[in-house]
Structures are given as structure tokens and as C-alpha cells.
């Protein structure tokens, strides 16, 4: 049964509600506002728990990867909840078009919807490679730019929350401050004031200063744990069993690179394709330009971090790119590709000796860029603690936590050996 795809028409834009899957709470909240500002009725899905997983299992090929299963589960669970008019609802998903199975999420979603008797629901592909087009949804340059700003804000807030929460004096104060800023940014977007880079910079500095000055933190020394992995599992608490919360609860500080890195990696793909394979010179030029644009902004941010706070800024992406020398080629570009290896190296370079690599069970690219690179990384960096964890609907949390606890036990022994702190190991 080849399912014809339902087009999202211009008329639909007016009265259809578009459901967005959730991956990064703060980023996506801000993005959702940008959609609304542009006249789309969007809803960021918040449903989670067993019913989402069950829905995914029920309507997807169970060998499909876990992120696909969860996203589909989230959509169908929502559509079947009765909260939405299923004849006036669409769903949206990103599509990269790479050589990994993730490119087929859109097809899998359509199949699942058809099986659930919801084939009338349009599936909108959010892509920059021109894979599928919908008249009712146009990706304009201005819109794209604003989405990009949401990524900047989201990354900043995520990084600050990660650096503050483990040390907050008043429990919940970090989240409160982050929520306050998300609220502010959303309001600013709604106020219709045009977005421009100047405003972004101003907000950026204000946020940095606010966290720096107005959030009381202790000076304890905690184990720092880096998280890398398949993008959805790495970021989404639904997929990784609240990995961040677990680690913070165990007394660790979590460190992870933001979404901008992934974006720059993706943009860079065409540049590499040209360099290695001589493919599509024009596209490579455009992407090179886009890359330089993004990189320049990143350098601005790093400067702002340094000038306005004591927080650790993101790593210069050029440095990230260079870090893989002697490990893996930039030509490995399916899934997270070489970036995943680079992120591990970047963390280690920044003194984060404990790294969790999170991926869906059986993730193809990660055999190579994750598990496949651990031996050489361990050899070149004795003493690092690398833990690879697979996630899927059947994996029990106890096994995952057990492995994390092993890593933390090693890490805290090392921390003890470094400092004179009293040996505490308690639950």
C-alpha cells in the first residue's frame, strides 16, 4: 500500500494545528513562538511516559530506531488523545536526507499514521535540502534566521543551566531563572518587535550577567560528566530516561555541546562533499558562506561569555573540527558522524574525563563514530572514563544506571585522589 502523501496546503495554514515533537524543552519552546509569530498554529508536544512508547511500538517497525519510535509514539498518542481535531491537525518533522536511516522518519511517520487510521493528517518535512515541498509551509530566509536565534538562546540557556544547577544554593533557583528568561524571550517575540542580531546580543549579555550575578552558587568540586550521542537520545529526556537529571542527582555536573554545533556540522557536509568528492561546487559555496556566517556568530558568543561571565563558553567549531586529526576523517558524515568523536575529544580536552555516549540500540553510525573510536581515545588519553549506553523501549533503567554508577564511582575516586575532600559515597 503505497500511501500518497497529503500536501499541507495554504488553506490548511490558517486553521490547522501543527504538532511539533519535543527534543529540547527550552529551544523548542522559543521556536514554537516563532512559528506562531509567523501565523502557524503550533503545539509543542509534552506527552511522555509509557503510553508514548506503547503507541510507538504499536505503529512502527520495531527495528526502526528508538527516536523514530518515540517521535511517532508522541504524535499518535497526542492525536488519539481527543485533544485535537484529527481532521484539522498536521505534524512536522525534520528531514536531513543523509545516508542514515533517520532520513526516513517522514516515511515511517506516514506509514504509522496510515496504520492508526490517521492517513488524512499531513506530515510536513522540515528540510533545507529541498526533499519535499508543501505550499502551506515555506521556509523563508527571515524565518530561518529567527529559528537560528532560537538555537542561540536555547544553547545559551542550556549551557548555563548545566553549569549552575549542580551548584545552586537554593534548590530550583536555576530552573526558575531559565524559565524567567524563556518567558521573557517568548514575550519579546510575541510583541512583534522585529528580531535582529543586535537584540540577540543584548539579550545574550543580559542573560549571562543575570546568571553570573544573581544566582547564588556553591564552590564545591563536583565530578563533571560529558554527554555526547545520537542527537535525539542525547538531548531528549524522554529518550534517555532523564539522563541529565539522574547524573545531577548523583552529584555530577553535566556538560554537553549545543545544537549549534550540530547545525554547523550539517552545513559543513556539502563543503566536505566538495572537498573529498568534487561534488556540487555551487552548493558547497553557499554552504561555505553559511558556515562562515554561523562561525562568526559563534566567535561573538564565545567573546561575550568571556567578557561577561566566568562560565565556560562553547568551543570554537574550527577547533572542534581540528580535534579529530589522527582519529577520524571529516568524510564520516552520516548521523552525527565525525562530530560525535570530536565532541568526546573536545570534552576530554576541556578536562571532562567522564563521557557518556548515548545512542539508540543498534545505531549504525555510532558503531563507528562512537564505540569504534573509544579504543583509540582511551589509548591516547589514559584515565578517561568512556561509557556507551544503548537506549530502546525494552532496555531496563537498572542496567543503564548501573553502568553510570560504575563510571561515577571511578570518577569520584579520582576526584578524591586529586583533592583532599572526605571520601563520601552515599546514595
Amino acid at each position: 500500500m503505497a500511501t500518497e502523501r497529503v500536501i499541507f496546503t495554504k488553506e490548511m495554514k490558517r486553521d490547522y494545528t501543527i504538532l511539533l515533537p519535543n527534543m529540547l524543552e527550552m529551544h523548542f519552546k522559543i521556536m514554537a513562538e516563532i512559528f506562531r509569530h509567523d501565523g502557524y498554529k503550533v503545539e509543542l508536544l509534552q506527552n511522555e511516559g509509557q503510553s508514548v512508547i506503547d503507541c510507538g511500538l504499536k505503529y512502527t517497525h520495531n527495528d526502526a530506531c528508538y527516536p523514530a519510535l518515540l517521535v511517532i509514539g508522541q504524535f499518535i498518542d497526542a492525536l488519539q488523545s481527543g485533544k485535537y481535531d484529527v481532521n484539522k491537525t498536521a505534524v512536522m518533522m525534520t528531514q536531513t536526507g543523509g545516508g542514515c536511516r533517520a532520513s526516513n522518519y517522514i516515511t515511517l511517520i506516514r506509514k504509522a499514521l496510515a496504520r492508526a487510521g490517521l492517513s488524512q493528517v499531513p506530515v510536513i518535512s522540515l528540510n533545507v535540502s529541498g526533499l519535499e515541498k508543501n505550499p502551506g509551509f515555506k521556509l523563508t530566509l527571515g524565518f530561518g534566521k529567527r529559528i537560528l536565534y532560537a538555537v542561540y538562546y536555547g544553547d545559551l540557556l542550556m549551557s548555563l543551566v548545566n553549569q549552575c544547577r549542580p551548584y545552586e544554593v537554593l534548590q530550583g533557583s536555576t530552573q526558575a531563572m531559565a524559565d524567567k528568561w524563556v518567558g521573557y524571550l517568548v514575550k519579546e517575540l510575541n510583541s512583534g518587535r522585529s528580531l535582529n542580531y543586535k537584540t540577540v546580543q543584548k539579550n545574550y549579555i543580559n542573560i549571562l550577567k543575570d546568571f553570573e550575578l544573581n544566582l547564588p552558587r556553591t564552590k564545591e568540586k563536583k565530578v563533571r560528566v560529558g554527554i555526547v550521542g545520537e542527537i535525539y537520545v542525547k538531548f531528549s529526556p524522554l529518550a534517555n530516561n532523564n539522563l541529565e537529571r539522574f547524573l545531577v542527582g548523583e552529584g555530577a555536573e553535566t556538560v554537553m555541546a549545543g545544537l549549534l554545533d550540530f547545525l554547523m556540522y550539517t552545513v559543513n557536509t556539502a563543503v566536505v562533499d566538495y572537498r573529498l568528492y568534487g561534488m556540487n561546487k555551487m552548493r558547497a559555496r553557499i554552504m561555505r558562506f553559511a558556515y562562515n556566517f554561523l562561525h562568526k556568530k559563534q566567535l561573538d558568543f564565545i567573546r561575550m561569555y568571556r567578557e561577561n561571565s566566568s562560565f565556560i563558553p562553547p568551543t570554537d567549531f574550527e577547533k572542534t573540527r581540528a580535534s579529530i586529526q589522527g582519529y577520524i576523517n571529516e568524510g564520516v558524515q552520516m548521523g552525527e558522524g565525525w562530530l560525535l568523536t570530536a565532541e568526546m575529544l573536545e570534552l576530554i580536552d576541556g578536562g571532562v574525563k567522564n563521557v557518556v555516549c548515548a545512542q539508540p540500540f543498534g545505531c549504525l553510525p555510532n558503531h563507528i563514530v562512537g564505540k569504534g573510536m573509544m579504543k583509540i581515545i582511551r589509548e591516547k588519553h589514559p584515565g578517561v572514563n568512556l561509557v556507551s549506553i544503548d537506549y530502546d523501549p525494552g532496555a531496563s533503567r537498572i542496567n543503564q544506571e548501573n553502568r553510570l554508577k560504575l563510571m561515577l564511582a571511578n570518577a569520584s575516586r579520582e576526584l578524591q585522589e586529586e583533592s583532599t575532600a572526605s571520601p563520601i559515597h552515599h546514595i
Binding site: 500500500m1 500511501t3 509509557q50 504499536k58 517497525h61 520495531n62 527495528d63 526502526a64 530506531c65 536526507g97 545516508g99 536511516r101 532520513s103 526516513n104 516515511t107 506516514r110 506509514k111 496504520r115 492508526a116 562533499d273 573529498l276 568528492y277 568534487g278 561534488m279 576523517n329 568524510g331 564520516v332 552520516m334 540500540f361 543498534g362 545505531c363 549504525l364 558503531h367 563507528i368 563514530v369 564505540k371 569504534g372 579504543k375 582511551r378 589509548e379 589514559p382 584515565g383 578517561v384 556507551s388 544503548d390 525494552g394 532496555a395 531496563s396 537498572i398 542496567n399 548501573n402 554508577k405 560504575l406 561515577l408 564511582a409 571511578n410 571520601p423 559515597h425 552515599h426 546514595i427
Partner: protein, 984 residues
């Protein structure tokens, strides 16, 4: 005054056992190792009570460890130490010069490396348990673990057995048992499998060498396992340490660790804490109970009692009877049926690894029952042991089990449109359309979790299966255990035990899991309507009311469960025997049976280079039956004069023709014949020849070659075709090549029929992984340049740069010429395949043979990866072609709904399209376990075929070498086709 050292207590609660050590310094005052049968808190209290005197009024420092210890520690507020960390403590205290620790526990396996910073590895989500695995295997062989160990010491040979998880291993062991292989050899093979798993799954690229210490229960109890480790790892006696504290090492380490803590406890305090924790029940998200009350259950029983078969008294019955035998994987079933379908005699029992013996006993019994007044007119056998039993006892008929089950189900409901059979270790389901089997789904090796799983679990918790099932019926809050493979369920059960679930809740949860597994993993149904209206369920597992109820509940739909659910295969065989009966049965007579003997001998077939392990069964009348063979040759038969075309074999021959050659340059390039090399090998072979290099392929794979490279595999969940690559690298190095070439290519050959031409990530970039995980590569040069195969000019540029960087002195013209030569060679190669494909199709049509497109990816023609399924298919009468030999014949190219951006996928889709356009053609898709990307192609290929009214058959393959299941699959396909043809 000298201070007496502090008392320390280490408590290690694992998945199945509790270990406790009380120490003073390094002196052990008390130790114990006991099974806890899920009663974690009670067991701990019981052991603590024994320590009252020893502790007295002193204080004690405590640390708890182990997978089930975590919950206890949390609830009791006691310090916890991660178990691998605790093992490290033991080693640091007692044997600090140890290089590596191998520790096997109930369900966990660990390897700890001590050189260059502690590097500790535990089994991942897909690594089967070890102690539990051995237990499970012992159950399968119907021996105790001690007997298994003893048996293993008498072994003379080793069979390959997969040990990734119990399910896989069972699939390997069952045929061996059915074929009559010696138990002692199987026992040793089981231990060898554990060793291989430890090396492949855990060491992951790091060699286990130096002083190795072996810890944990299984290693301390099983001499056979220890011997296998020492043998495989080639350890000298002083390098293999088996300490007396092996089984309590974690508890001991916990005790050592406790010494570093501040908190001290008195005995009373400790008991109070653990005691209080027993009442703390953490939140478990329980499912609804299976039955609300006794009345509810009674109504359910009455409804199902309707589907019954009448019994007749064999003592008074006079007349003809028909015998049906179902020789299943774990059980043997027999029924004797009277002329008007009454049951005269039934038998259902475990085949105890000796089905021939059981059937002989039963036949004797049946002859006694029959006396002179009942005449057995015909006998038929079905199931795994079909061939063996038919030959042994000269039965009239044998039939494939799917057909047997269908025949039986139709007896209960002529309109049956869906049959689900959950047996001891397999799930079979088939849809019926228009009175014929329309599609067949068997559980893939990873998704079992069937009847024997519940049985094994019941046993491990100390219950009989029936009692265990009963406990489930009214359990208040069945545990939600997920629906993936049994290994995951094992850990989910651990979690549930930790959370204080009752045995009934676990039993009910397992029933729900088995059902969910069947519906969502095997059938992959979205709703009951998809299955059909007239559903018949059968198989021994459905005699468990909890399973049946869970199934109906999950479907929201009532189904028929015949009272003889466990005997349906035999019942179908009996019905079949009746329908095909002649005047006289050929079955051994009562007298002949008396002198019946059976011996079996393992041997290696020398018919070809495959070297299959075969079993030769010899019966009293001198008849021999050979099993385990992959082709006719092994069965002692000669190959036919004009064999049916087999494109897989043809393609292999083409590769075999590309023999090692020397070149004018004193440098030989080795090409590993795996992954993408099966596609572009002819290109690279011609290219390097043209450039003046010596060239050689690594040759086809076999099990030995795989094992050579196994130690260096970093990701045990990668597909077998990728993992086997490591062996090819080792092979080339052994062959003495100077360099190895496996290019990195994001894109494959562009055949201009799809939207893009990607490789999968594994084929594209596996060289990156090899270069950092295979230390042996440092002895040769390893080349993996990034190349664009689709643009000659660009390719020349890239190759020139690569060659000049590595060797120097290459000119543009030389390289351009070589590329041209290589391209022509590749094109000629592909053209040959297509021409041969056309010839094969023509011959099939001319001579009226069935045509099978045995499709997958190019590397599936490898005899080890494809397990010679191609040859099996030709023995069954199919002309076999590969997808690349017929894809071009599709007149209307496929337009799949999925993104069509992979070269191999596009061929698959078009080959499927060709099948829908061609009469007498069928498609069987080979899928390697772990191929995530095939989750997409399988669905697409299925829809293309179903749109064209063709059956879809998928065969999942891994290291598994069980051709029995594949045979059933293919024979069922033939059966279904015959039925359809008969109907049409």
C-alpha cells in the same frame, strides 16, 4: 594498647544469589553464597541473623553491592558500591599485579583491565547472561549444571554455538540435539560459546592477556568453563588465576571498600534498617489484573471448553487409526486418532534431547494399547525432527509444521483466517486467505521469549510451570516487562524484584510480555482487525491461561483455543495421515521396533570447502540418515547432471576466478572480501592490476575466519557482515600482503534509478573503525582513501593524490588508464551477472521451475553470511537468482514510498517489482540481524510484493547456522504456493 581492626561487612545481592562477607582487615570471618529466589530482603535478614554472634557489640562498617543490592541499599539507607568497582577493590587488595579480571555472574559479565588506568567493561543490553545462560542451557539439555560441567570434560569436538543470548544459542543447540550430537560435545561447546562471547562482547578490541584472574560463581563451579577460557586465551598456569574467593569477590571487595567509609553501624541498627526496608514498597506501575475474580475466570474456562475433541477408549475401540507425531524443538507430541476423529491416545512431553528414544518408547506403548483390535493405517510426522523420525521409523508421510498446524486449526474452525502458535521456543503465525496460507511469520532469533522462557523463569524462581502460571491469574498488579527480547526481560524482572513485586505479578507480567512480543514483534499488528475474525491460537504456551487471557485482552477480541492446543501439530499430522492413507502403513511393525537401534556420530562433510558439521544417524536396518548438511552432497547424494541455475553460486565463481596475481611492483594489495568489496571488488582488483600491483582477495568467509578477528570487534551489536570484516583483515595479514585496501565511500555506484546512491554508514566508513581497533594492522599498510566512484575525472584525481602520497611516481595518464580498465572490468562483471540472470529466468520458465529471487545485499552471497541458503533453495527445486541479476528486468521500476536513496535498496525494490511482473517468481529477502536500515526496506519490499499479490518471505540471519528453521520457512512457502495454485 593495640587497636583491633574494624569489622567490615560486604553484601552483594546479584540477580539470583546473595553473597555476604564479614571481614576484619583482610581476614575473612564469615562468607556465604546462596540463591535468594527474589526474596532479597528476607534472605539478607536471614544471613544477617547468622552474624549476630560474630558482630556482637562491636560496630561494623557496611557496603552493599550488586544489581539487586541497589534497591536494598536505597531502601535501608546503607552505603552502596558499584559491583565492578568492588571487584577492583578485591584485586587491589589481594592480587595487585593482576592485568585483567574476567568475572561472570548470574546475568552480568565483566572484564576489567588494570593496565594504563582501570578500564572496566560490563555486558551491554544485548549480551546474554552468563550464569543464567548456562543454567538455561543445562535445562535445555535436561541435566543439572554440575552434570553439564562433568559432561563437558569428556568432549571430543566443539560445535559453533552463538552465545549473544540464550535464544540464539538455543537455535544452534536444538538442531544438534535433534540430530543426536553427543551431549558432552554440546556441553563443551556451550562453555566455548561463553568464552567467545566474553572476548567478542566485552573485551571489544582489547586483548585479554597477562595475568588473568577469573571470578564469579560460574567460573568457580565449572571446571569445563575454566578449561575453555585457559585454552582459548592460551594462558599458562601461572597466568590463569582462579582464587578461592572467586564466587564472593564482589562481597569481599564491598567489605574492603566499607573500611574507607565513615559510618559505623551496630548489629541491631543494621537489622532494623534492613528489616524496615522490607516494608518500603517503591512505586511499581502495575498492569490491571488478568481476572477480576473467580467468577470471571470460571466464565473464561467455560467458553474455551467448547473447543474440544472427543476421546474414545482404546480398549473398546475397534477399527482403523491414524498416528500423528510432532517432533518439536523441545517437546515431542503424539496423537492416535480414530476413524471418526476421536482421540485414542495422546502424549506430550519434553524430548529430553533424545527425540528418537522417546518416539521409540511411545510407539511400543501405542502398539501395546492397540493390540490386535486397532490397526494403524498411516502415520505422519512434522516438526524440527521430521526427517530424522520419518527415516528412523519409516513413517508414511512427513509434512512441514506450518501445514500441519493449518490442517489442525481448520478442523476446529473451517473459516479460520489467522493462526498463532506459540510453542516452546518459537512463535509461528500465518494468515489464511481463500483457504490457503497467505503469509507466514516466524519469530526471528531475537524475539523469542516463548513458552520455554516462562518455564525457565519459573524454575529459576523455584516454581513448577503450572503453579507459576496459576499465581498469575489473580495477581493484583502484573509487572510491565516490555516486549523486547528475553535478555531485556531478565533485567526488567530484576528491576521488578527490586521494587518488591510478587512472584504472581512477575508471572502475569511475563505472560503479557510473551503476548506483546508475539503481536508487536512477530505479527506487527496494529489492531485485532488486522489479524482476522476467526483466530485460532495453539501451542503448549497457550495452555497457560494467563497467556491466553493476556492475548485476548491485548486484542480486545475472543479467540479459539482448542483443548488440545499443545497437540495441534500432531493432530494436524494425524489428519494429514488419514487424508493420504494407503492400504498399508510403512511404519516399523511391533516386531521390527523391538530390534530397533539408533546410533549417531558427528562428522565433518568433505563434499566441498564448507566443511559442514554433520551428524550421521545409523539405524538397526542399516539405513543412514545424515543431518546438518547444507546441500545434497552432504546427504551422500551426487549433484545432478544439469543443476538448477544458482546466481549466488555463479557470483561466487566469478570472485573465485579473480585469483591472486603478482605485479611488476614489489607490493601486494589485499582486498578484504566483505561488505562493499562484494560489489566493487572487480573494480579494485582490475585497478591495482593495471597499476602494476600484486593483488589478492581474502577469500570467502567461514566460521574460523570470523573467529580470527573476533577479539577486535568494538561493537557487538553491529551486523555480522561487518563483524566478519575483522577476520578478513587477519586473513590478508596472514597471507602476507603488504597493504590492505578498503576505501571509504559515502556514495556507492549510481545506477541512475533512484534519488541518490548512498552506502549504509557501516559499508561506507567501516575502515575508520578497523584502523583504530585492529592492532595487527600496524604490521601492514592500511589504505582507506575517500573516493567518488561515480565521476571518472574526480576519481582519477583522488587516486592520483592517494597513490602519490603513499607510493609516489604515478602519472596522470597511467591512473586514468587504470580507472578506465577497472570500470570496464566492473561493467563486464555486472553484465555477466545480468545475462546469467536472464538465462536463469528463461530456463525456469522453459522448464517450469519455481524462480526465487534470493535477495539482500551483495555480501549475502558469502557462504558464511548467507549460510548457503541459496543451495538449500536449489535442493528444494528453486532456480535461484540474486537481486542484481534481475532488477534490470522490471518493466515498471518500483516507486517506493520510502526515500529511495541507497544503491542496494533500489535494486531490491526493482527486483521485487520484477517478481510481481513474473509468473512463478518469488522473492525471499535475507536480512542481517542488526541492520537498522533494513527496517525500512523490509516494509517496502513487502508492500511492493503484496501490491502485486505475491507472498513475502523474510529470513533473518546472523551467526546462527540453523538451517532447520530456514528449511521450514522455504517449505512452507512451497506449501502455500501449491495450495494457492490448487485453488486457482
Amino acid at each position: 594498647m593495640e587497636k583491633i581492626a574494624q569489622l567490615t561487612l560486604g553484601i552483594d545481592i546479584g540477580s539470583t544469589t546473595a553473597k555476604v562477607v564479614l571481614a576484619r582487615g583482610e581476614e575473612i570471618l564469615y562468607e556465604c553464597y546462596e540463591r535468594h529466589f527474589s526474596q532479597v530482603r528476607q534472605k539478607t535478614l536471614e544471613i544477617l541473623e547468622r552474624l549476630q554472634e560474630l558482630i556482637g557489640t562491636s560496630t561494623v562498617k557496611v557496603a552493599v553491592s550488586g544489581s539487586a543490592g541497589l534497591g536494598l541499599a536505597r531502601a535501608a539507607g546503607l552505603p552502596f558500591v558499584q559491583e565492578v568497582f568492588a571487584t577492583g577493590e578485591t584485586v587491589r587488595h589481594l592480587e595487585p599485579d593482576t592485568n585483567v579480571v574476567v568475572e561472570l555472574g548470574g546475568e552480568d559479565a565483566k572484564v576489567i583491565f588494570f593496565d594504563g588506568g582501570t578500564d572496566e567493561r560490563m555486558n551491554g543490553t544485548c549480551a546474554g547472561g552468563t550464569g543464567a545462560f548456562i543454567d538455561q542451557m543445562a535445562t535445555l539439555l535436561d541435566v543439572t549444571v554440575e552434570e553439564l560441567d562433568r559432561l563437558s570434560l569428556e568432549s571430543t569436538r566443539i560445535y559453533p554455538i552463538a552465545s549473544r543470548c540464550g535464544v540464539f544459542a538455543k537455535t544452534d543447540i536444538q538442531p544438534l540435539l535433534n540430530q543426536g550430537a553427543a551431549k558432552s560435545d554440546i556441553a563443551a561447546s556451550i562453555f566455548r560459546a561463553v568464552v567467545n562471547q566474553t572476548i567478542a562482547g566485552l573485551a571489544q578490541g582489547r586483548r585479554i592477556a597477562g595475568k588473568v584472574m577469573f571470578l564469579g560463581g560460574p567460573l568457580s563451579f565449572n571446571e569445563g568453563l575454566r578449561r575453555q577460557f585457559v585454552h582459548v586465551l592460551k594462558l599458562s598456569p601461572e597466568h590463569a588465576v582462579f582464587p578461592p574467593y572467586a564466587r564472593i569477590s564482589v562481597a569481599l571487595g564491598a567489605a574492603f571498600f566499607a573500611a574507607s567509609l565513615n559510618e559505623e553501624f551496630t548489629y541491631t541498627d543494621l537489622v532494623a534498617r534492613v528489616g524496615a526496608s522490607a516494608t518500603v514498597k517503591t512505586d511499581t506501575t502495575g498492569l490491571a489484573p488478568l481476572f477480576t475474580d473467580k467468577k470471571d475466570y470460571a466464565a473464561f474456562r467455560t467458553r474455551h471448553a467448547a473447543a474440544a475433541v472427543e476421546y474414545a477408549d482404546p480398549a473398546t475401540y475397534r477399527g482403523n487409526a491414524y498416528l500423528g507425531i510432532d517432533c518439536g524443538s523441545t517437546t515431542t507430541k503424539l496423537v492416535l486418532m480414530a476413524e471418526d476423529h476421536q482421540l485414542l491416545y495422546t502424549y506430550y512431553n519434553s524430548n529430553k534431547g533424545n527425540p528418537v528414544g522417546i518416539v521409540k518408547e511411545q510407539l511400543e506403548e501405542i502398539y501395546t494399547v492397540c493390540g490386535d483390535h486397532i490397526k494403524i493405517k498411516a502415520a505422519a510426522v512434522t516438526g524440527y525432527g521430521e526427517e530424522l523420525i520419518r527415516h528412523a521409523f519409516h513413517l508414511d508421510q512427513g509434512l512441514v509444521e506450518t501445514m500441519a498446524h493449518f490442517t489442525a486449526a481448520r478442523y476446529f474452525n473451517p473459516n479460520v483466517d489467522f493462526i498463532l502458535d506459540i510453542g516452546g521456543q518459537d512463535i509461528k503465525c500465518f494468515k489464511i486467505r481463500g483457504g490457503a496460507i497467505d503469509s507466514i511469520m516466524l519469530n526471528e532469533a531475537c524475539s523469542s521469549g516463548c513458552g520455554s522462557f516462562i518455564e525457565t523463569f519459573a524454575k529459576s524462581l523455584g516454581y513448577e510451570t503450572e503453579e507459576f502460571a496459576k499465581l498469575a491469574l489473580f495477581a493484583p498488579a502484573p509487572v510491565d516487562l516490555g516486549s523486547r527480547c528475553t535478555v531485556f526481560m531478565n533485567s526488567s524482572v530484576k528491576q521488578a524484584q527490586k521494587d518488591g513485586a510478587t512472584v504472581g505479578d512477575i508471572s502475569a507480567g511475563l505472560s503479557v510480555s510473551v503476548v506483546k512480543n508475539a503481536i508487536y514483534k512477530v505479527i506487527r499488528a496494529g489492531s485485532a482487525e488486522e489479524l482476522g475474525e476467526n483466530i485460532v491460537v495453539q501451542g503448549g504456551t497457550f495452555l497457560n491461561d494467563a497467556v491466553l487471557r493476556s492475548f485476548e485482552r491485548e486484542l480486545g477480541h475472543n479467540v479459539i483455543r482448542p483443548a488440545i492446543a499443545g497437540l495441534m501439530g500432531a493432530w494436524g499430522a494425524a489428519l494429514y495421515a488419514k487424508s493420504t492413507a494407503k492400504e498399508q502403513s510403512s511404519m516399523l511393525t511391533r516386531e521390527e521396533l523391538k530390534s530397533f537401534t539408533h546410533t549417531s556420530k558427528a562428522a565433518v562433510c568433505r563434499g566441498c570447502t564448507n566443511n559442514c558439521n554433520i551428524t550421521v544417524n545409523t539405524f538397526a536396518d542399516g539405513e543412514r540418515f545424515i543431518s546438518g548438511n547444507k546441500c545434497e552432497k552432504g546427504a551422500g547424494k551426487r549433484a545432478a547432471a544439469n543443476p538448477l541455475p544458482n546466481l549466488h553460486a555463479y557470483k561466487r565463481d566469478l570472485f573465485a576466478e579473480m585469483v591472486p596475481v603478482a605485479g611488476k611492483r614489489d607490493f601486494t594489495v589485499g582486498l578484504p572480501l566483505a561488505l562493499g568489496m562484494y560489489e566493487l571488488g572487480p573494480f579494485w582488483y582490475a585497478l591495482f592490476r593495471a597499476l602494476g600491483f600484486g593483488v589478492r582477495f581474502s577469500g570467502f568467509s567461514n566460521r574460523k575466519l570470523y573467529q580470527k578477528g573476533q577479539y577486535s570487534i568494538p561493537s557487538d551489536t553491529a551486523c555480522y557482515p561487518a563483524k566478519i570484516m575483522h577476520g578478513h583483515i587477519e586473513q590478508l595479514i596472514e597471507d602476507g600482503v603488504d597493504g590492505i585496501f578498503y576505501p571509504s565511500m559515502t556514495r556507492n555506484i549510481d545506477e541512475r534509478v533512484a534519488d541518490n546512491c548512498y552506502n549504509c554508514p557501516v559499508v561506507a566508513y567501516y575502515a575508520e573503525l578497523l584502523s583504530h581497533n585492529m592492532d595487527t594492522l600496524s604490521s601492514v599498510r592500511f589504505f582507506y582513501p575517500y573516493l567518488n566512484i561515480n565521476d571518472d575525472k574526480q576519481l582519477c584525481k583522488e587516486l592520483l593524490a592517494f597513490l602519490n602520497a603513499e607510493f609516489g611516481g604515478f602519472g596522470q595518464r597511467e591512473v586514468a588508464n587504470a580507472v578506465r580498465t577497472a570500470k570496464l572490468a566492473y561493467q563486464a562483471h555486472m553484465k555477466k551477472i545480468r545475462r546469467e540472470g536472464e538465462r536463469a529466468v528463461a530456463r525456469a520458465q522453459r522448464e517450469g521451475h519455481r524462480l526465487m529471487v534470493l535477495s539482500g545485499r551483495p555480501y549475502h552471497i558469502d557462504p558464511e553470511i548467507g549460510h548457503s541458503i541459496d543451495r538449500l533453495a536449489t535442493t528444494l527445486g528453486f532456480v535461484v537468482v540474486s537481486e542484481d541479476a534481475v532488477a534490470h528486468l522490471a518493466t515498471h521500476p518500483a516507486r517506493p514510498a520510502a526515500l529511495n536513496q541507497w544503491t542496494y535498496h533500489a535494486r531490491l525494490y526493482n527486483a521485487a517489482k520484477f517478481v510481481t511482473e513474473t509468473k512463478g517468481a518469488e522473492l525471499v529477502q535475507l536480512v542481517s540481524f542488526g541492520c537498522g536500515i533494513d527496517a525500512i526496506t523490509t516494509d517496502e519490499v513487502r508492500s511492493i510484493l503484496e501490491d502485486g499479490n505475491k507472498l513475502y518471505t523474510q529470513i533473518k540471519i546472523d551467526e546462527i547456522t540453523n538451517l532447520g528453521a530456514v528449511t521450514i520457512r522455504l517449505r512452507s512457502l512451497i506449501g502455500a504456493l501449491e495450495q494457492q495454485e490448487g485453488r486457482g
